[in-house]
């Protein structure tokens, strides 16, 4: 019996388990998937929790419900990977041997990496919304907040879902407007980037939207520490910004097991060939999604598109053939902009987000780099698509490879 081991039963791992079980003979291939958590979180939904739009039950389901029969599911911590010996050691000493390994262990927030961040104000006046605990604590805080200085800060690049903090401030603008206290809430967006976003056209569009909504942007701010007593964030070059409530994207890192295995870079991301999605070092290891160091967004859409490439290349490798699929870095992000509207950006390694229609050229129904109600409905409907189609590895009417059709240069 030959063996495939998948590490991580998040978006990427779950999609791969579904695709592979369908494609490979059960008599010939054993598939095992490992995760330390039993709950599958719909992470794009975390953003809506602080504003009371989603509740906890809207974003959680059991991981086991999405793993097909015929795939062995193990809930345990990964101690380490021994790629030279083709084995994974789990906590407690259980050993999983493999012929092929798929690493989809994702990325997580690490507030411990910033001095002062996870201290007395943590989840009292300083919040992340990348964990269910942070999002729920912030919900409770916002419900009765009287207003003041709200600072949204990004600690380090890269981070998961690069548009989320922008969406957060847009939704905060709407929330406090509807609560009748927007005039008492000062919203500041503090980023290490030179502007609202990385790519020029999207930065321009989003920058204008921020201005329209009276949200101040402070660019080029690289967070060194948080002062809990004075309630200030401090940058390496001595800039200080005071806050009454700080919402933060802490430093993002790959899984600790990657560090223990000595397979990651300085942020525990695995050096991965950006086209084949195979480990740069090991021919029988593929890296899917946020766990890799490929230069594109850390986002579910990327994982979804990349899973087609990993699947194709793994099938080629199994048959001893040359890998033929190439990932183009395709990412597609809905951006909630508040008041029932949204925008969409679609881009890859080479092409920045451009205006146009998606997914059907000239028709849409979604407008790229435009602020429309239809785009917002897309995001609302997406939660259903995620649970019912995407995780199960079924076909969606969008292409893995980015298309220039419908885009304006």
């Amino acid at each position: 019996m030959k063996k495939i081991v998948i590490l991580g039963a998040g978006t990427g791992g779950t999609i791969m388990a579904n695709k592979l079980r369908k494609a490979l003979d059960r008599e010939e291939w054993e598939i095992t998937i490992v995760d330390k958590h039993k709950t599958h979180y719909y992470q794009p939904g975390f953003l809506f929790i602080p504003f009371g739009i989603y509740k906890k039950q809207d974003v959680i389901k059991s991981k086991a419900d999405f793993i097909p029969s015929g795939v062995k599911l193990i809930f345990n911590e990964i101690d380490k990977i021994e790629p030279e010996n083709n084995k994974v050691i789990l906590e407690g000493g259980q050993i999983l041997n493999y012929d092929f390994l798929i690493i989809a262990t994702g990325t997580h927030v690490s507030p411990e990496d910033t001095p002062g961040l996870k201290e007395e104000l943590w989840h009292k006046e300083i919040f992340d919304f990348y964990t269910i605990e942070g999002a729920l604590a912030l919900r409770e805080f916002f419900e009765t907040w009287q207003g003041g200085r709200l600072v949204m800060n990004i600690a380090e690049l890269p981070f998961k879902c690069p548009v989320a903090p922008l969406e957060f401030v847009f939704l905060a603008d709407e929330y406090f407007t509807k609560a009748g206290i927007r005039n008492k809430v000062d919203i500041t967006y503090v980023t290490p980037l030179p502007g609202a976003f990385t790519k020029p056209k999207a930065t321009k569009m989003l920058g204008e939207l921020l201005k329209e909504k009276n949200i101040t942007v402070i660019p080029d701010f690289y967070l060194e520490s948080v002062d809990n007593k004075e309630k200030k964030i401090k940058s390496y070059d001595g800039k200080e910004i005071p806050f009454d409530v700080l919402t933060i994207v802490p430093v993002n890192k790959g899984d600790d097991a990657i560090e223990r295995s000595g397979m990651g870079d300085d942020l525990n991301y695995i050096p991965t060939d950006k086209q084949t999605l195979r480990s740069e070092k090991y021919e029988n290891i593929f890296v899917l999604g946020d766990a890799s160091n490929i230069p594109t967004s850390k986002a579910g859409s990327v994982v979804h598109f990349a899973s087609d490439v990993v699947f194709d290349n793994l099938m080629c490798s199994i048959k001893g053939r040359r890998m033929r699929a190439h990932f183009d870095g395709h990412a597609n992000c809905y951006i909630e902009t508040g008041f029932g509207k949204g925008s969409i950006i679609d881009f890859n390694y080479e092409t920045e987000p451009l205006a146009g229609n998606y997914p059907l050229p000239g028709i849409g129904p979604f407008g790229l780099l435009q602020n429309t109600k239809m785009n917002h409905y897309g995001k609302v409907i997406f939660r259903w698509i995620y649970w019912h189609i995407l995780l199960k590895g079924k076909e969606l009417p969008v292409e893995s490879e980015m298309s220039m059709a419908g885009k304006k240069k």
């Binding site: 690049l157 890269p158 080029d220 060194e224 390496y236 160091n293």
Partner: protein, 100 residues
């Protein structure tokens, strides 16, 4: 593409002032670019520039801070404001791209 003359050599530069061909770079050119940015280069600066030229792929402020040559604070002291952008420009390499 614009042209600029540094240390008696006419070089092609991007619209942001980054050298197009990093192989044409030398220490004299670096000194003149640095002067335009209001920086007087010391041995410490050159040690950082050497590291940056040798580790161009996937360069981040964090990585430079872990290089053993300079910590992040020191990097900001040497190249105030935007240390990665400034040092890349003075080191004659491409403008750093942050991908998110």
């Amino acid at each position: 593409m614009a042209q600029k003359t540094y240390a008696g050599v006419t070089l092609e530069v991007t619209e942001d002032g980054y050298l197009v061909d990093s192989t044409k770079w030398n220490e004299e050119i670096a000194k003149e670019i640095a002067k335009e940015e209001g920086i007087e280069l010391t041995d410490k600066h050159f040690a950082v520039l050497k590291y940056i030229r040798e580790n161009q792929a996937g360069l981040t402020i964090r990585k430079v801070g872990k290089s053993g040559i300079v910590d992040i604070k020191g990097f900001y002291d040497l190249f105030p404001g935007g240390p990665l952008k400034l040092s890349s420009k003075i080191a004659g390499i491409n403008k750093p791209t942050s991908c998110v």
